[in-house]
Symmetry: C2
Subunit: 381 residues, 2 copies
């Protein structure tokens, strides 16, 4: 039985060689896809102000259900007016379900049909999150796009274990949808389901079909980028996408490198989030069209040029590689700030360029050229 | 013999109860005094961009001769166009002489008539800085206000040791002035002398008189805030100021708390620099008119108000104490960034208010009220 979604959230406006350009309507405004969503784990995209996120054209950011539940708590955030007001961000927020963190960070997990009992990673406090709890936390945060609570099996995982885990995830997805339907229609956010199934094509297909039967505003591919080889990651995506409706948004969770994102877009994925641009910046690594460079390295000591020629981000417009190298070597916070700014601009701009080329019908050339130029293990310095 | 200074850099425009409002002309523009100068030790005011410094009305910032000599080196900075271009800051820069750091950070110091041999604090490289070296480093950096190289005796210090040290500092001051006069007049920055003499009034007087005989564009009081009690610090200032010319700028180095700055202004001091606003911010401490508050503390957990009511800084306009507390507790960089911004605004605004009240003839009331309201060891939370 397929439950009707009252309003269709996603509109595809162009398609080219598998890539899609679309618009996702949320209650806090429209999101142009393909879109990269900066990760704001603890109610902040690391080292950035909301003004800076707007200046690099971030349309939507992620909040983390698990982290915010543990600290400072969704009830506190709700009493202060919700996550948007708390962090002074007025554009859409997508919250993950907490599933991934429960399975990667928390201790002494015990999984039951009801949900997951665990001790949080900060002070070991016994905690429980199940499908309804996850939805309630996301509601209290005031999220505009909520994710169904899922179990994330580890990699590698036998077919039998992946199958059992998927069945539980699907029962939880049903409960999330039921919870969502119990809420007043006028205050409901968008709700996305998450496909699982590890690297097994039959399970990915089953997962996609079952979620579509339940009916969601969008569909995510979860359980990827958990340590599997790249080809297995692509296979997981390719196994699910054909069974997801073309008129709904698709979201590959926690991915990836710039060429991986382009390859996902070529496979019909619309939404991405990844900690790489912010995390690598804190290590002095900057993204360019030719691959990453580490600004700690000696060749940049007297380099008067920007991180990337032609880049119009604030960092490249004002600061040299030599200055950034000095800041990184001297462990100055400004260094990681400026590189974070550039890296976010790079990722956001990458999705925007993919969209532009999809609309223009030149996505295939863009993809070929971008992937050919990008050296995966670091640009030649 | 007093050497004529070609252009008088400082103009006093108002005086009230000891406080002075003035204008200091530099080759990169005018500085309205009293002025607080944010400290940019390693070619960055910690955690801040130049745009942000401009947004809080920073008129002039400090660069650190010792630190920049050790890393990345003034020659490298000069090849890249100077410190202003390197860090993308187009307003005046004052560089200290390196003396204070040589005596507080460096290892295996050997002081001779020529200068100081030492091993730098980073990798122990043997290094030498003397009066001429210090001036050359400051020239290579492109500083707009250079400081004469001085010896900073430790606290406490006998009268005999302080006297011998002062004599050396005065001979070095003469050599700095000679070096400065050997430079092309059109490219010379302003040059300030530094009075020393520890806590001894007779030595402070001697120091001031001797420096005035040599003739500088401005006069600093050094060797204060080195661990001495507050009354000794005030005595050092009070012992020097009467012997400094009223038509030249006076600069108390490395000071202080907000009420100390007000008390120095009341004693005729015009310029200040201090790491407190930036350093304490990184520990979660914010300045208010009632004293400091530590945002880590529990009472702020659900406090929806800004750090300080009525404050028009970016932080107070956009973020609550509750959010800042969360960021500090979660060790998020944005927390220390936002508190740094507020604290710098507080210090810069404090000097601007002192100036306004001096011009208006209401400095004494302002001083009395400010000092009475400010609780030195932390506001009641």
């Amino acid at each position: 039985m397929r439950t009707k979604i009252p309003m269709k959230a996603f509109t595809m406006i162009a398609e080219d060689s598998g890539a899609r350009a679309g618009i996702l309507k949320t209650r806090r405004g429209e999101i142009r896809t393909p879109v990269f969503m900066p990760v704001g784990t603890q109610a902040t995209v690391k080292a950035m102000t909301p003004d800076e996120l707007r200046s690099v054209d971030a349309q939507v950011i992620l909040g983390n259900t698990y982290h915010l539940h543990v600290r400072p708590g969704e009830k506190l955030i709700a009493r202060l007016g919700g996550l948007h007001k708390f962090m002074s961000w007025d554009r859409p927020i997508l919250t993950d379900s907490g599933g991934f963190q429960v399975f990667s960070l928390a201790r002494l997990r015990k999984i039951t049909e009801e949900g997951v009992h665990f001790q949080n990673h900060l002070d070991g406090t016994p905690t429980f999150i199940g499908p309804e709890t996850s939805m309630e936390i996301q509601r209290d945060l005031g999220s505009d796009i909520v994710m169904a609570f899922d179990e994330c099996p580890p990699h590698p995982c036998t077919h039998d274990a992946a199958s059992k885990s998927l069945d539980l995830t699907l029962r939880w997805a049903r409960r999330c949808k039921d919870w969502w339907e119990s809420q007043p229609a006028e205050s409901r956010p968008l709700v996305f389901g998450i496909t699982q199934g590890s690297g097994y094509a039959d399970l990915r297909e089953k997962s996609a079909r079952a979620l579509v039967d339940i009916g969601f505003d969008g569909y995510a591919i979860g359980g990827v980028s958990v340590g599997e080889p790249e080809e297995e990651m692509f296979r997981a995506i390719e196994s699910a996408v054909p069974f997801l409706p073309g008129d709904h948004a698709r979201y590959a969770m926690g991915l990836g490198t710039p060429p991986q994102i382009i390859e996902m877009i070529a496979r019909g994925v619309d939404m991405f989030d990844c900690v790489l641009p912010t995390r690598l910046a804190r290590n002095g690594t900057a993204f360019t069209g030719l691959g990453t460079i580490n600004l700690k390295n000696a060749p940049f000591a007297e380099d008067p040029g920007p991180i990337e020629d032609g880049c119009d981000c604030h960092t490249c417009q004002n600061f040299s590689r030599a200055y950034l190298r000095h800041l990184v070597k001297a462990e100055e916070i400004l260094g990681l700030r400026l590189i974070t700014m550039h890296n976010l601009h790079f990722y956001l701009n990458l999705a925007a360029r993919a969209r532009m080329h999809t609309v223009a019908g030149t996505f295939q050339e863009f993809r070929r050229e971008f992937v050919a130029n990008y050296v995966p293990n670091g640009a030649k310095e």
